[in-house]
Amino acid sequence: MSGWPWRSNAVRAAAIAAALLAPLAARLLAPITAEGAAQKQKVSSAPVTCATCHAKVVNDFAHAPMRHAMEPEGADPVLDANPDLRIEQRGYSYRIQTKDGKSTYTVSDGKETLTLPLRWHFGMRAQTWVLEKDGKFYEGLVSYFPGIHGLATTPGDDKIEPHTVAEAMGRELPVWETRDCFECHATGMKVGAVFTPEKLKPGLDCEHCHEGTAQHMADAQAGNFKTLPVSLKKMDAESVSGFCGQCHRSFDTVIRNGWHGPPFVRFAPYRLSLSRCFSGNDARISCLACHDPHQPVNHDTASYDKKCLACHSGSATVASVGAAEAAPKTCPVAKANCTSCHMQKVTLPTGNLQFTDHFIRIVKPGEAYPH
C-alpha cells in the first residue's frame, strides 16, 4: 500500500468505498449498458437481436449500401421506382416489368420470347439481376444504371455476342461465381452446403462481417460477455484491407486473377494498396479511417479532407521502419477537396458507371490509367 499515491486516509477510505460499491452501482446501471440490456431482454423473453444492445449502429446500418447489397424480391426500391424498363440492343429487346411486387425479365428477338421471374436483385443503386433457368444461374446481360435511368449492358459482358434468345438473356455463371455473387451480396452462405439461394437473407447482416455474433448473443443472454466477436477495430490497415478485400477485392485477389485495367478500378482495397501513403501499420490509411461500413457512403469530398490532413498537415509524421520519422509532403495547390484531384473518378469502359480510384497519387495531366 505504501507505494500507492494516497494523500490522506480520507481519500483512501473513499476509494475503498467506491470499490466496494462499484458492483452495486453496476447492477443499478445495468439497463443502460449493453450487458444490462441483454439481461433485461432475458427477463422480458422477447427475442434478442443485435439491435437489443446495439440499437444505434443497427439502425444506421439499415440505410448502408452493404445492407442493401441485395434487395429482397418484391420490395426493391429500384424496380418499384422504375416499373417498366426497356432497351433494344444487339438485335434483342429487353423489358423489366414490376407489378404487384413481382418483377420479370423478358428478352425477345421478335420471334422467340423468354420471360423469367426476377428474384435476386444485386445492388441498391446500379442493379444487376441473377436469373435461374433449368437449374442453372445466369447474370442478366442488361443491368439498371441510375446515371441513365435505364438499362444498358452489364459491366464485363460487353464483348458477348448472343446468337440466341437464351444467350441474350444472360451469361451462364459457373457454380463458384454464383456462390461468390451470393457470398458477398447476401447472408447465410454455408461452405460445403448445397447452394440454396432461397434460404439466404438478402444484403449483409451483422454476422457477415462480425463472425461469432450468434454465439455472442446466446452467451450474452446468459450473462457471459467474454465470447465477443472478433474486433475489426484492432486490425491494422493491411489486415483491414485484406478483410474488406474479401468482397471489395484485395491486392492479392487482383494479382491472383491477373486483372488489369480500368474495369478493376472499382476494387478499392487493391487500388489503395498501390498508393505511396498506404502503410499497413498506420491506422490513418485504413479503409475504416474514411469509411464507416454502418453508414451510407459520404459523397461530400470536403468531408474527407481531415483524413488527408491527418498526415499531410505539415506537422504530422509517418513512422517507417529503418528510417527517421518522416513528415509527409503538404499539398502546394490546395488544402481542401483533396480527393477531387488525388483520387480521380474513372468511368468504366461500358460508360455507365463511375468509380473513385483509391490509388491516391499526384495525377499528371494526360496520364494513362496506371496498372
Binding site: 442453372k136 461465381e177 456462390r179 474479401q246 494479382i255 498501390l274 498506404f278 499497413g280
Partner: protein, 381 residues
C-alpha cells in the same frame, strides 16, 4: 475453343487401337507439311544407284507394297545414311505395321540428323509407349507437344491421350488434367478418357490399362464428374461429385480431386473438399498441404498455420506448406520467422507470386511501406 468438330470414331480408334494405320495417316496428314522442311532433295545427294533405290522405294510405298518399300528404304539409307526422308518413311512404315522397335530405330536415326524433327519425335514417342519404354515416351511426347505437334486437332487426339496417361504415370497429375481438358473442351467423350481423368484427379500413378476392373469403375465415375468440370459444366459437375461422395463415402482422394479441380476457381469451395478429404483420409499429406495453402488463400491464417505445421511434420520439404506457413506466420504477428521462411522458398522459386505477396504483406504490416509499394507496383505491372 475448338471449332473443328472431332468425330467420335477418331477417339475410338485411339482407344481401341482398331485401326492404327488410320490414326497414323491422320498424323501423317498433319505433319506432311513439316516433312518437307527437313526433307533433303534426293538428286542433290546421291548417285545413280541411290536414286534408283529411292525411286523404287517410293513406288513400292505408293503401290501399298509396304514390306518391299521398307527393304528398299533400308538399302537406300545404307547407301546414304544422311538421307532423312528415307529414315522418315522407314519409321512410318514400321509404325504402320506395328513394328515398333525398328520404327524407334529409324526415327532415332532421323532425329540424330535433324534434332528438331518434331513429327519424328512424336511418332517415336508413340512407338516407345507401345514398347513400354514409358519414360522415353514421356520425354518425346512432352517435347513434341510443347513444340506444336498437337496443334492440329487430328494429331492432338492421339498424342494428348498418350501424353496424359504418361503424365499420370509420372505423378504429374496437374499436367495430365491440362491435357485431358483438351478433350472435355472439345466435347470428346469416351469411357477410357473418363478413367484417365479419374486416375489423374485421384492421384493414382499409372496407365488406364493398369487399373483393376473394380478400381476402374470408380475412376470412370470420378472422371465423368471431372470431365464435366473441365468442360465448364460446373453445375452438372457439382451434382455428379456429390453423388459420388454419397456412393463412395470412404474412398480416398475423391474429395481431393474435386477440391483440386475447384482450387483455381474458388478457394472456399476447394477448402471444404480438402477438409472432407482429411476426414476420410487423415494421413493424406497432399490434402493437408492443399488445405494449408487454401486456408492461407482464404485469409484464415491461424488455421493455415496449424495445417501447414502438421503438413511439414509429415513432409518437411513441401513447398506449398512452407509458403502457407510463412504467410500465416507473417499474418499472425511473427514477422521475422515468416519473412525468413518465405525468403528461403524464394531462393528455390524466385518468382513465386504467393511468396512475393506474403513478403509484401510483412513489409506492409511492419511499416516498410516503400518496400511493399515497390514490390506491389512491380507485380501489378
Amino acid at each position: 475453343m475448338f471449332s473443328v468438330p472431332i468425330p467420335a470414331s477418331a477417339t475410338k480408334d485411339i482407344f481401341l487401337r482398331r485401326d492404327r494405320k488410320r490414326a497414323c495417316t491422320r498424323i501423317l496428314l498433319g505433319m506432311a507439311a513439316i516433312l518437307f522442311v527437313f526433307g533433303v532433295p534426293v538428286g542433290a545427294q546421291a548417285g545413280a544407284q541411290f536414286e534408283d533405290l529411292a525411286a523404287r522405294a517410293a513406288r513400292a510405298r505408293d503401290a501399298g507394297n509396304l514390306t518391299q518399300a521398307v527393304e528398299l528404304y533400308q538399302q537406300a539409307t545404307a547407301a546414304k545414311p544422311d538421307w532423312q526422308e528415307g529414315w522418315w518413311y522407314q519409321g512410318l512404315l514400321h509404325y504402320s505395321a506395328n513394328q515398333y522397335p525398328p520404327a524407334i530405330d529409324a526415327f532415332t536415326h532421323l532425329l540424330e540428323l535433324e534434332p528438331h524433327a518434331v513429327p519424328a519425335m512424336a511418332l517415336r514417342g508413340l512407338c516407345e509407349f507401345e514398347t513400354a519404354a514409358y519414360d522415353d515416351a514421356l520425354r518425346d511426347l512432352d517435347t513434341a507437344v510443347v513444340h506444336g505437334a498437337a496443334s492440329d486437332p487430328r494429331n492432338a487426339l492421339i498424342l494428348r491421350v498418350h501424353l496424359a496417361q504418361l503424365l499420370t504415370r509420372a505423378s504429374r497429375f496437374q499436367d495430365a488434367l491440362a491435357q485431358y481438358s483438351f478433350f472435355a473442351l472439345g466435347r470428346v467423350e469416351d469411357p477410357d478418357l473418363d478413367a484417365g481423368i479419374g486416375m489423374a484427379g485421384m492421384r493414382t500413378p499409372g496407365l488406364v490399362s493398369d487399373a483393376t476392373a473394380a478400381d476402374r469403375v470408380v475412376y470412370e465415375a470420378a472422371g465423368r464428374a471431372g470431365w464435366q468440370l473441365l468442360a465448364n459444366n460446373t453445375m452438372q459437375a457439382d451434382a455428379r461429385f456429390r453423388e459420388l461422395f454419397t456412393q463412395y463415402p470412404t474412398t480416398r482422394n475423391l474429395h481431393f480431386m474435386y477440391g483440386y479441380m475447384l482450387f483455381p476457381h474458388d478457394s472456399a469451395m476447394a477448402l471444404d473438399q480438402f477438409q472432407q478429404e482429411l476426414a476420410v483420409a487423415p494421413n493424406n499429406t497432399a490434402a493437408r498441404g492443399m488445405l494449408a495453402f487454401t486456408l492461407m488463400i482464404a485469409g484464415r491464417y491461424v488455421e493455415a498455420r496449424a495445417a501447414a505445421e502438421q503438413a511439414l511434420t509429415e513432409e518437411p520439404g513441401m513447398a506449398m506448406a512452407q509458403i502457407a506457413l510463412g504467410r500465416a506466420l507473417g499474418e499472425t504477428g511473427e514477422y521475422a520467422r515468416g519473412e525468413e521462411m518465405l525468403k528461403r522458398v524464394l531462393t528455390e522459386d524466385p518468382k513465386n507470386p504467393e511468396v512475393l505477396m506474403g513478403l509484401i504483406s510483412i513489409y506492409s504490416h511492419t511499416g516498410r511501406s516503400e518496400e511493399a509499394r515497390r514490390e506491389r507496383l512491380a507485380m501489378a505491372k
